[in-house]
Subunit: 266 residues, 2 copies
C-alpha cells in the first residue's frame, strides 16, 4: 500500500500526477491520495478580502491562524481541490472518492483552540483557533473504501473529539494514515526535488537519510519542509517502511519517487 501526499504549490501538475496514479492503480497497487489546502486557501482568502494570517508560536513554529471564518474558507478551498482531483481520476477511469478527515471520523484528534504566539516581541494569546492534532485514524472506513475498489482522496480537515471540524496539516495527516494502515511507502510530493541541503539550490538534494539520523536534518529543512520531515519521522516511528520526499512537477511523479528519485528516508 502506498500513501501519496501532494501539495498545491506552484508548478505542481495534477494531470501528470493523476495519470501516474491511474496507471499504478490499474497495475494493482493500493493507493490513498492525501492533499493539502494551504495555497488555495491563501488565494481564496485574498480574493474574499480576508487574507491569511500566519503566526509564530512561542515554540517557534509558524502556522496559519484558523479562526472560524478561515476554517470555512479552508472548507471551500479543500472542497475545490478535492473535487478537481476526484474528477481528474474519474476521467481516467479510476473510481476515486473524496473524504475529509471529518467524514466518518476518518481522522480525529484534539482541538487546540488557544494559540500562544509571539508578535512584535511580545507573547499573545489567540483564541477561536480551529486546528488540532491527529490522534486516531478510522482504519475501518478506509479499509471499507479500499475493499470496495475505491481510491480515497483525503482532505486535511479532521474531526475533533467534540465533533468539530479542525484544520490539520496534510503531511502529518498522510503520515498518520500510512502508520495506521501499515503502508509500505509514504510519498510526500511537493514542488522541490526533495530535502535540499541549501534551499532553494536543487543541486544540493539529499538523496538518502538513515532513519536514525532524521533529527539532524530538521535544522536543514526550511519553512513547510519542516512539517514534512516531522511527518516522515512520525510515519517511520509508526511502522511505515520508507518515506520519500519527491518532486510533483514532473511526469510520472509517483513512479519516479517509488524508483528512488527524491530524498529516501528509511
Amino acid at each position: 500500500m502506498i500513501v501519496v501526499k501532494v501539495g498545491g504549490g506552484a508548478g505542481i501538475n495534477y494531470d501528470m500526477l493523476c495519470e501516474d496514479l491511474a496507471m499504478l492503480k490499474r497495475g494493482g497497487h493500493e493507493i490513498i491520495l492525501v492533499h493539502g489546502g494551504s495555497d488555495e486557501t491563501n488565494r481564496l482568502s485574498e480574493q474574499l478580502g480576508y487574507p491569511a494570517r500566519f503566526v509564530v508560536s512561542t515554540s517557534g513554529h509558524t502556522s496559519r491562524y484558523t479562526d472560524r471564518q478561515t476554517l470555512e474558507i479552508f472548507m471551500m478551498a479543500t472542497g475545490k481541490i478535492n473535487g478537481l482531483l476526484v474528477e481528474n481520476l474519474q476521467r481516467l477511469g479510476i473510481n476515486a472518492i473524496g473524504v475529509r478527515g471529518l467524514d466518518g471520523q476518518l481522522l480525529s484528534g484534539k482541538r487546540k483552540a488557544v494559540l500562544r504566539i509571539i508578535e512584535d516581541g511580545k507573547q499573545k494569546v489567540l483564541r477561536d483557533d480551529w486546528t488540532g492534532t491527529i490522534d486516531q485514524v478510522n482504519t475501518g472506513l478506509i479499509t471499507l473504501l479500499l475493499k470496495g475498489g475505491y481510491l480515497p482522496v483525503v482532505a486535511p480537515i479532521a474531526c475533533s473529539f467534540d465533533g468539530e471540524a479542525i484544520n490539520v496539516d496534510g503531511d502529518r495527516a498522510a503520515a498518520a494514515i500510512a502508520s495506521a494502515l501499515g503502508a509500505n511507502t509514504l510519498l510526500l510530493l511537493t514542488n522541490v526535488p526533495g530535502l535540499l541541503r541549501r534551499f532553494p539550490d536543487e543541486s544540493t538534494l539529499i538523496t538518502h537519510i538513515e532513519r536514525g539520523n532524521l533529527d539532524a536534518y530538521m535544522e536543514i529543512a526550511q519553512g513547510r519542509m519542516k512539517k514534512k520531515v516531522m511527518g516522515a519521522g512520525e510515519a517511520l516511528e509508526g511502522g511505515v517502511g520508507r518515506v520519500i520526499l519527491a518532486d510533483a512537477r514532473r511526469e510520472s511523479p509517483v513512479s519516479a519517487a517509488l524508483a528512488g528519485q527524491g530524498t529516501v528516508i528509511e
Copy 2:
C-alpha cells in the same frame, strides 16, 4: 428509510434540522441527507466578482449557466455546506460522512454541455455548460456506508459518463437516491411550508395531493418549487411511498414533516 433534501434559502436552520436528524437516527431510522448549493453559490460568486448567470432554456426552464469557473465555485460552495452539515451532525454524536455524487460515481449521468437559451427574444447557444442529468445511482456505495453505520450527507455534484463533475439539481438528486434505494419517504425541505396555491401566501398551503393529479400542480408551482414537484413525480414513479414538501425553518422539521405537516404527495 428516509431521504431528506434540505435547501439553503433564507430562514432555514441547520441546527434544528441536525438535532432532529440525530434524534431520528438514534431512534433507529436509516437516513440519507441531501443538500443544495444554489444560494451559497450565488453569494460566493458575487463575492468573487463572478456573479451567477441564470438563463431561460428554449423549453422555458430557468437554470444556472454553469461554465467551468462557476462549476469550481459550486465545488467550493457545496464543500462548505457539506462540511458544516457533517460537522453539525458529528457534534451531535452522529457519524456523518459527506459525499458528492461525483465520489465513487454515487450519481452518474449524461452531461449536457450545450444549452439552448432564449435571450432578448432570440435563440442562442451556450457552450461549456457543466450540468447534466442523473441516470444511475451507485446503490452499492450508499449501502456500504449505511451498513457501516454512517449517515451519508450528499452534495449535488454528479459524475458524467465521461467522469466529469457536473452540477445537478439537489431535489432531483434526492429523488433519484430515494427511488434507487426504495425509500419509504422523501422529504423536500425548503423555506416555505409546502406547495402554496398562491405563492407566497402561506395560508394557501396545499396539504395533500393524489399522485395521479401531480401534473395539474406543476402550473401552480413557482420558480424552484417546479423542480421539487418534478422531483416528487420522479420519486413516486421510481417507487417511493410518499413525498412530502415541508418547512425547514421550524423546530423538528423532519419529525413534523413525517407527521404530515406540509404538502403530502402519495
